[in-house]
């Protein structure tokens, strides 16, 4: 009896691990359904810089106060991602600037009324200006500017040796670095791309001398910087407005429009400074309502405890990494089997999965977002993670199968086993160690890469990392980075344990 039972053990393993996986990931489909049916709630997006976060929080608050359920997906990747999300209906509104709309979205030189008409063709509406102009500006350390006697952008012509650290977006924008350089005939050769928040550090410690900034940036005063005057009026006006879907509920649009003309530059700088000081965007939003409605309206309605936030981030992170890993396994193993046979098809498969790995994550997201079905959604994040997770699984499956000695392959053939039985009963179990180690690598990579999901508002532990990066707040970065690292370790241990169950005993002697 004992014999009969034990000899079936391998098949039993195969059968038994499936439900385990299903159990682990069963929460995912439920979640996917939830996210799509939560459409009744108004979704506000924001870009990944402080002011956009704060405006997003203000919009959420004004909607909530009007009795409309609202959700704020903060810190999404960039203009294109938000715009596509708005068009695709994944978000209902987000704060934008008129200059950006003209140059980046519509790619033309339109004035406000024409912009409004052009947007309508996309089913998108625009509020009147909120009241402040947040234009691009180049900034320098005050001491350095005074020492060199630089006051305007034209003055920069005289100092070709200055080092410029510009955000990646500014480097590429139609109203960004290249046309600016032409307009002012700027001679500087030493230009690097750097994250906006990190750039302030670089400016402070002298690694760079000039950086781009927003004119309402609280850091300008905090870091004792000067804005160089745009003496040739190069930068267009960047009036803050909200873009919204014309199909959004009328009461929601009405609520958003109550923000029109209520925020001047001074007020915005104050809110930005408050957000950066307290590391709490909701708090800064509250400040806006205090000024507007008086102290009576003061309240702390958005106080989510750290444990609650951490739980939310972690669960979402596991959903992202887990579901994408499951897809990578389901697709990767068959691809690996095909690839193990070599030939042109095998090379194409290994080549494709390899190339995917070399695409930077933000670029991959930007490629996926404009496609139908994807947009700004968790689907896009999962698809990107799935693609990144393929290579280790495909390659390890192929190698594991190719490493089976020829004599054993031939023994399986000579016995008369059908091709499927050979694969299932002999080849795959023999390659199991290699395949599992591929899956383990994928899982750990996915846990790390899942932080990118925050760039398109899909949440996870990347949320605190990105907002911390933006606030230059190491503690907030660590709130995401440490749990992500712990998660990666736990996943590693879990798979080490799984090895003992899934790798046949005869291969572990």
């Amino acid at each position: 009896m004992n014999r009969l039972r034990k000899s079936k053990s391998f098949r039993r393993f195969l059968v038994s691990w499936l439900p385990d996986f299903l159990l682990i990931f069963s929460c995912v489909p439920v979640f996917l359904i939830n996210s799509s049916s939560a459409a009744e709630s108004i979704v506000i997006g924001s870009k990944k810089f402080t002011e956009s976060y704060v405006l997003g929080e203000i919009a959420k608050r004004i909607l909530t106060d009007a009795g409309i359920s609202a959700e704020h997906r903060q810190g999404m990747g960039g203009t294109i991602i938000l715009w596509e999300g708005l068009r695709g209906g994944q978000i209902d509104a987000y704060p934008e600037y008129t200059g950006t709309i003209a140059t980046e979205i519509l790619k033309s030189d339109l004035k406000a009324p024409e912009i409004r008409a052009a947007l309508e063709k996309f089913g998108v509406g625009m509020t009147a200006p909120l009241g402040f102009n947040n234009t691009y500006a180049l900034v320098m350390r005050r001491s350095e500017a005074q020492r060199l006697g630089i006051r305007t952008l034209s003055d920069l012509q005289r100092y070709p040796e200055l080092k410029l650290g510009l955000t990646h977006e500014f480097l590429e924008r139609q109203d960004g670095w290249r046309p600016l350089r032409e307009r002012y005939s700027l001679p500087q050769q030493n230009v690097i791309g750097i994250d906006h928040a990190l750039g302030y550090n670089a400016l402070a410690n002298g690694s760079i001398d000039v950086k781009d900034a927003y004119s309402t940036d609280a850091k300008i005063e905090q870091n004792d910087l000067v804005v160089l005057e745009d003496d040739l009026q190069f930068f267009p006006k960047y009036e803050a407005i909200f873009l919204y879907r014309l199909s959004a509920p009328a009461d929601a649009i009405a609520a958003l429009r109550r923000l029109e003309g209520t925020l001047d530059e001074k007020q915005m700088i104050r809110l930005n400074a408050e957000a950066e000081r307290t590391k709490n965007y909701a708090r800064a939003a509250d400040l806006y309502f205090e000024g507007r409605d008086g102290a009576a309206a003061r309240r702390q309605s958005y106080g989510e405890s750290f444990v609650e936030k951490l739980t939310r981030w972690t669960l979402r992170h596991l959903q992202l990494a887990g579901f994408s890993l499951l897809l990578s396994i389901i697709v990767g193993i068959p691809l690996g089997i095909v690839a193990s046979r070599g030939g042109a098809v095998g090379h194409v498969i290994l080549g494709f999965t390899g190339v995917v790995q070399t695409i930077p994550s933000l670029a991959l997201l930007a490629l996926l977002v404009p496609l139908p079905f994807f947009g700004i959604s968790i689907r896009t994040a999962i698809t990107a993670l799935f693609l990144y997770g393929l290579l280790p699984i495909v390659r390890n499956t192929a190698t594991g199968l190719q490493d089976i000695p020829r004599s054993l392959r031939e023994s399986a053939v000579a016995l008369g086993l059908s091709p499927i039985a050979r694969l299932w009963e002999v080849y795959l179990p023999m390659a199991s160690r290699s395949i599992l180690s591929g899956i383990k690598t994928s899982a750990v990579i996915n846990i790390g890469t899942a932080t990118l999901a925050a760039l398109i508002g899909a949440g996870g532990l990347g949320e605190p990392i990105i907002s911390g990066l933006n606030l230059n707040d190491h503690l907030t970065i660590l709130e995401g980075a440490i749990p992500a690292a712990v998660l990666a370790l736990l996943v590693q241990w879990f798979f080490d344990l799984l090895d003992r169950v899934l790798i046949p005993k005869g291969l572990r002697i």
Binding site: R3, L4, K6, S7, F10, S407, L408, E410, S411, A412, V413, A414, L415, G416, L417, S418, A421, E425, V426, P429, M430, S432, P504, K505, G506, L507, I509
Partner: protein
């Protein structure tokens, strides 16, 4: 006398290298035919062509009067047992599971499989207690006994052995030679046995087929080969092996 296996002008080449010139051979039912010759003479190739691990470039192979084709080979393989030098046991399966793998695959009843397994372990003198072990937990001789059980599980008409004792030390080898011979006799088994050891060939063979350089040089009993060598190579091969044996 009936031929169980018939090869007609079967040949195989790898690029420019000819592994087997067009060759014809009959393997008689109930007899042990031994293929012998130096390394690379084509004896293993011939065996692998019969079970179709490699496709012949020309010629035809018949098993029990029926032509072997890529379409029917997988069914025919159940009627052929195949044992190789290192046993070819699957390391992730126990000895028992290795033996039963194919029988299970074609859905033999539990009871029948169980009885056959007991029969085989008695026949091959393989202790029941070792059946639950994995190949890596068995000695070389034990592994070959399991491999033989696996080959015999479905009572094949033809047993192909490719240097089955080549990797064993002399004592184990001698014991297995005795047991194998007894098993063949008891089962009345048709066997095609590949070896490069003349003493082993003489011990097992009803008919010896001497090969060299991708061709059959001569076949017959050892007496025929000694008395009427078809070719100087035949005497050379026989004398070389005897020379070493007498030292």
């Amino acid at each position: 006398m009936s031929a169980l296996v018939k090869l007609q002008d079967v040949s195989k080449r790898y690029g420019d290298a000819i592994a087997l010139h067009p060759t014809s051979l009959s393997v008689e039912s109930g007899k042990t035919t031994v293929l012998i010759g130096p390394s690379g003479c084509g004896k293993s190739t011939l065996l692998r062509l019969i079970i179709r691990l490699i496709e012949p470039d020309s010629g035809s192979i018949e098993l029990d009067g029926k032509p072997v084709t890529p379409d029917n080979i997988n069914v025919l393989r159940r009627r052929i047992g195949y044992v190789i030098q290192d046993g070819g046991l699957f390391p992730h399966l126990t000895a028992r599971h290795n033996v039963l793998l194919m029988a299970r695959h074609i859905g033999k009843p539990q009871e029948e499989m169980h009885n056959r397994l007991l029969e085989l372990s008695e026949l091959t003198r393989f202790s029941d207690n070792l059946l639950m072990r994995y190949p890596l937990e068995l000695s070389g001789g034990q592994r070959q006994r399991v491999s033989l059980m696996r080959a015999l599980m479905l009572s094949p008409e033809l047993l192909l052995l490719d240097e089955p004792l080549g990797a064993l030390d002399p004592l184990v080898r001698a014991a297995l030679q005795r047991d194998l011979k007894e098993i063949f006799t008891r089962l009345g088994q048709t066997v095609l046995f590949v070896t490069h050891d003349l003493a082993e060939a003489i011990y097992f063979a009803d008919e010896i087929v001497l090969m060299n350089d991708g061709r059959i040089v001569q076949n017959g009993t050892i007496t025929d080969l000694r008395a009427r060598p078809a070719d100087p190579f035949v005497s050379e091969f026989i004398n070389a092996q005897r020379g070493i044996a007498s030292v």
